[in-house]
């Protein structure tokens, strides 16, 4: 709801109770990250080792880049289930181009261009032709996965020479912080500005409420839809490029697990700051939370499938809370606004 936002600017007073509620919705997820970290650290102090922090921040960066665009697609009331296969395609395309003897620049360009093309195709089919977003993106995901596998004939392509992004992944500051975190946070800050301060951000959330109404007040809904899917494609492709550098290889099957991870992050994040609305700050915090959770379960020696169950349950609980909260906020918001 935009109501909470209006509250802050037009009624700076507000009761203590409301300010506490506000603080709770803003800070519960960061608090959960801290609590989880401390809980794991009390049993396995290794989680705070420099090497482990660096690993968590690296996977945080890849994941955050991958779902930045997805956050807005879901915020606009659409769905994109092709992002993880776009990342896999970009990852393989990067490795394949290098194996063909292209330079890193050309390889990265090709990977990002592929992401852009898939995103624009998704956007045109969903926004201009008004086909169901799930069917369109499920199909493009299948096509991307097939092309990714075909590029390496079903196997991994190794990358021999480290590329220009390698220093970004090399931890500094006592080996705890990979520099890639800085550009990722800068891009996220820019996205947060666009989402909170520019008209485009308003339109995204308005689209989720009533697309016909937004269209009839003169917002170019089709163009905006194409832009959102294109951004999702490009950001997923950028994550694929980072993965190529990080893993020094193209992995055709890398996409699969990211589907549930990406959706969990976006929806869990959607319960922070703006309850029931996916947003950039929430996505970043939730990405960090999932990163700590993965690292923690790995350190505690839980097998992969148990983590999968925990994560699915988390997503389900998150959804339930977000849906119930959105219903309450919805009712309260209208009363406030009137």
């Amino acid at each position: 709801m935009t109501m909470t936002y209006i509250d802050k600017t037009t009624r700076p007073g507000g009761t203590l109770r409301r300010r506490m509620a506000r603080l709770t919705t803003d800070l519960w997820l960061p608090a959960a990250v801290v609590v989880l970290t401390l809980a794991v650290a009390s049993v396995r102090p290794q989680i705070l080792d420099a090497g482990n922090i660096a690993a968590v921040l690296k996977s945080f960066s890849v994941m955050a880049v991958m779902v930045l665009g997805l956050t807005w697609v879901i915020a606009a009331g659409k769905i994109d289930v092709s992002f993880m296969q776009v990342a896999a395609l970009a990852n393989m395309l990067c490795a394949w181009s290098l194996a063909q003897g292209w330079g890193w620049g050309a390889a990265i360009g090709a990977a990002l261009a592929a992401g852009l093309v898939v995103g624009v195709v998704n956007g045109l089919l969903v926004s201009a032709m008004r086909l169901p977003a799930l069917i369109v993106t499920i199909s493009t995901a299948g096509i991307c996965a097939s092309i990714a596998a075909a590029l390496g004939k079903g196997t991994v392509i190794r990358i021999e020479a480290p590329g220009p992004l390698a220093p970004l992944l090399d931890p500094v500051l006592g080996g705890a912080v990979p520099p890639v975190v800085v550009p990722v946070l800068l891009i996220a800050a820019l996205a947060w500005f666009v989402q909170e301060r520019l008209a485009m951000g308003r339109y995204i959330y308005a689209m989720a409420q009533n697309e016909a109404a937004v269209r009839s007040v003169g917002v170019p809904v089709v163009g905006l839809g194409v832009l959102l899917f294109a951004l999702s494609g490009v950001s997923a492709a950028a994550a694929g490029v980072l993965l190529a550098e990080h893993l020094a290889s193209g992995q055709p099957m890398i996409g699969g697990p990211y589907l549930i991870n990406g959706l969990t992050v976006v929806l869990l994040g959607g319960m922070m700051v703006r309850v029931g609305k996916p947003n950039i700050l929430g996505t970043l915090t939730a990405t960090l939370f999932i990163g700590v959770l993965f690292s923690g379960t790995a350190l505690l020696g839980l097998p992969d499938y148990q983590r999968q169950i925990i994560q699915g349950a988390l997503l389900l609980i998150g959804l339930a809370v977000a849906t119930l909260a959105a219903r309450h906020h919805g009712a309260g918001g209208h009363a406030d606004g009137a």
């Binding site: 089919l125 169901p132 995901a141 996965a145 589907l259 499938y305 169950i309």
Partner: protein
């Protein structure tokens, strides 16, 4: 008069579909003569039985205008559960009943969460699917289950024949016939369609819309369990990745059928899944690598949905001059 027109149009669509299936069959038979061999046709019938059951389940969910992405996860969990029951020495029917009961519970979880608690369908089913995918590892930690499989008689579902056709095909036909009867000849079927078309209107017409949405998910899970049962019967063991290849063909079958036939229905899904299975088996026979199959199915699905979409039709008729003549022609024909 308009009823007659509708009948004509319906018949024309069915004929078009039959022509498409025959055309695809003819092309494959020309490129690869083995396509029409006994073994190949048997294979198509078997694969169609499994794919068709999964697609039928999805049809119910799509008719109430929802999606289900938990098919793969539920299939994996049900496969391992039925495998574990068989390995524990239970008779086959008990294992199947156990699998169906599990499927009903899992479908009810998604269905109730989506209908009564109004959670978003896509993400809820992804979450339930993920949990099920993890639970599938509980029995053996991911190892294959094969004990007692041959003694239990489960492979008969794949090998035995009745009146010249495989048992699995009879199961498929029986389930489809029952589904067709309920969906197009009873009040219950109409209620499903009404819930999908306009839930508010359906609600005020005295239809318990939430119950039908939940029921659609239960039916989908039950069909998924039957589908994976046939896959277990074919392979003679249970593994956690059984059913991973059920979802894409199911989606393609439902939406391709709906696109060609002009609406989601049991008959449309049957046609769609027949076409998809022919294409998949045909390509496999021609030696197309496995990793292309998902891409091919996706491409066909996307192509079908685009080719039969409203906006493309509007765009083509919007091209101008063609429209009046085409309209007159169709009037003359009618």
């Amino acid at each position: 008069m308009s009823r007659l027109n509708d009948h004509f149009r319906g018949a024309a669509r069915v004929l078009g579909f039959v022509a498409l299936v025959l055309g695809v069959g003819a092309v494959f038979a020309l490129i690869e003569p083995r396509f029409l061999s006994h073994a190949s046709l048997n294979g198509i019938a078997r694969h169609m039985a499994a794919n068709g059951l999964a697609a039928l389940g999805l049809t119910f969910v799509v008719i109430v205008r929802k999606f289900d992405l938990s098919i793969a996860g539920i299939a994996a969990f049900a496969a391992m559960s039925m495998g574990a029951l068989i390995a524990a020495g239970l008779p086959l029917w008990a294992a199947i009943m156990g699998g169906l009961a599990l499927g009903a519970v899992l479908g009810a979880v998604s269905g109730i969460a989506i209908s009564y608690f109004e959670l978003p369908d896509i993400v809820t089913t992804i979450a339930v699917g993920s949990i099920c995918g993890g639970l599938a590892f509980l029995y053996t930690g991911g190892r294959s289950i094969f004990q007692n499989f041959f003694q239990s008689g489960i492979t008969d579902l794949n090998d035995a024949r009745l009146l010249g056709l495989g048992v699995s095909l009879w199961i498929l036909l029986a389930v489809y016939a029952a589904a067709w009867f309920v969906m197009s000849r009873t009040r219950t079927g109409m209620a499903f369609y009404a819930t999908g078309e306009n839930p508010i209107a359906a609600h005020f017409s005295g239809i318990a819309t939430r119950r039908f949405v939940a029921l659609a998910y239960v039916l989908c899970a039950l069909c998924t369990v039957l589908a994976v049962l046939l896959i277990l019967a074919e392979s003679g063991n249970a593994e956690t990745n059984k059913g991973a290849n059920l979802m894409m063909p199911a989606y393609a079958g439902v939406f391709l059928g709906a696109a060609v036939m002009g609406g989601t229905s049991v008959v449309a899904t049957f046609g769609g899944i027949l076409l998809i299975t022919m294409l998949l088996d045909g390509f496999a026979l021609m030696g197309v690598p496995y990793y292309y199959s998902d891409g091919v199915v996706s491409l066909i699905l996307l192509g079908g949905v685009i080719a039969f979409s409203d906006s493309l039709r509007e765009w083509i008729t919007g091209l101008g001059l063609l429209r009046p003549r085409a309209a007159r022609k169709s009037e003359n024909r009618a």
